[in-house]
């Protein structure tokens, strides 16, 4: 049973992580398109899968956020991965079972999964 009291312990650990990340030049971002089009195409399970993988692999430097519709609804769910010092990479028609490779090869390995990108789809 989860109780609000658990959060006291979580607070201490989390503050430590936040402070470590402040000086981390590796901070990476995953941005999921979550407008009507993205959600209808299946963005929620994709986002939850990213959260799960990031937690499982303990990638403290990665944050997941969302964005609205960028006008290419037919390619949703779309996910941007932004690594420091690199150009943004946009993945299209992302399914939960594609997340594993994106996390391993791109977020952890630094090499985008070329066949999932918008460049390969267009």
């Amino acid at each position: 049973m989860k109780s609000l009291a658990d959060l006291q312990a979580i607070r201490a650990k989390t503050l430590e992580n936040i402070n470590m990340r402040k000086d981390d030049k590796n901070a990476a971002r995953v941005v999921v398109g979550m407008a009507t089009c993205g959600i209808a195409a299946g963005a929620r399970p994709v986002m939850l899968k990213f959260l799960e993988e990031i937690k499982e692999k303990d990638l403290q430097h990665v944050t997941v956020s969302q964005t609205g519709c960028i006008g290419m609804c037919r390619l949703e769910p779309m996910v941007d991965v932004i690594l420091p010092g690199q150009e943004k990479v946009t993945y299209v028609k992302v399914k939960p079972d594609m997340v594993d490779r994106i996390v391993k090869e791109h977020l952890m390995g630094g090499t985008p999964v070329a066949e999932y990108t918008i460049g390969a789809a267009e």
Binding site: K2, A5, L51
Partner: protein, 183 residues
């Protein structure tokens, strides 16, 4: 949209865009099977003119294209299930949307993963707004309030921190799934 929880994920975004500091959702299923979902916020509200045309697919505030399908699709799905969608709004006060559906109707959408929707909303809006969820079915009542979580955790910690996210995921499931499972 395949289920009500996905509609909720989408429609709550309107409240967030309206600058709400608290987004409240209450879902009840009464003993006759009528489902009522009330989504309310304290955002900037809508003018009577916007309120009148917002159920049209051709009304949107975004600039990337000229259609906005969130509210019209919810309305269509509610009406298919013998229900309705009503909006009340006041500029500077907020907006309240009430959706009803007859869960005995064959065209009624399933509820879907409500705790997943709430988790997604919190994860993608880790600093603000706060979310209050209340549910009531024949199986009981549930309640989840991110203001309580923030008070216990300290307001300076974003709720999408991995440790916090893991706690939220479990806590939301424990609170909501027993009440809404099987509706």
């Amino acid at each position: 949209m395949r289920d009500l929880s996905l509609h909720l994920l989408d429609l709550a975004q309107n409240s967030i865009t309206a600058g709400a500091s608290l987004v409240s959702v209450r879902i009840t299923v009464d003993e006759r099977g009528w489902l009522t979902m009330v989504l309310s916020d304290d955002g900037k509200g809508m003018s009577p003119e916007l309120l009148q045309r917002v159920t049209s697919p051709f009304a949107t505030t975004r600039t990337t294209r000229k259609v906005g399908l969130g509210i019209p699709m919810m309305m269509e799905n509610a009406e298919k299930a013998g229900g309705s969608l009503h909006l009340k709004s006041e500029v500077g006060v907020g907006t309240e949307m009430t959706v009803t559906m007859d869960t005995r109707n064959i065209d009624c959408l399933p509820l879907g993963d409500l705790s997943g929707t709430l988790l997604s909303l919190i994860m993608t809006n880790p600093l603000a707004p706060d979310f209050l969820f209340e549910g009531k079915t024949a199986k009981g009542e549930c309640r989840f309030d991110t203001r309580e979580v923030r008070a216990a955790l300290g307001g300076d910690i974003p709720l999408n921190e991995p440790e916090v996210a893991a706690w939220l995921q479990e806590a939301l499931k424990e609170e909501m799934d027993p009440i809404f499972g099987g509706v």
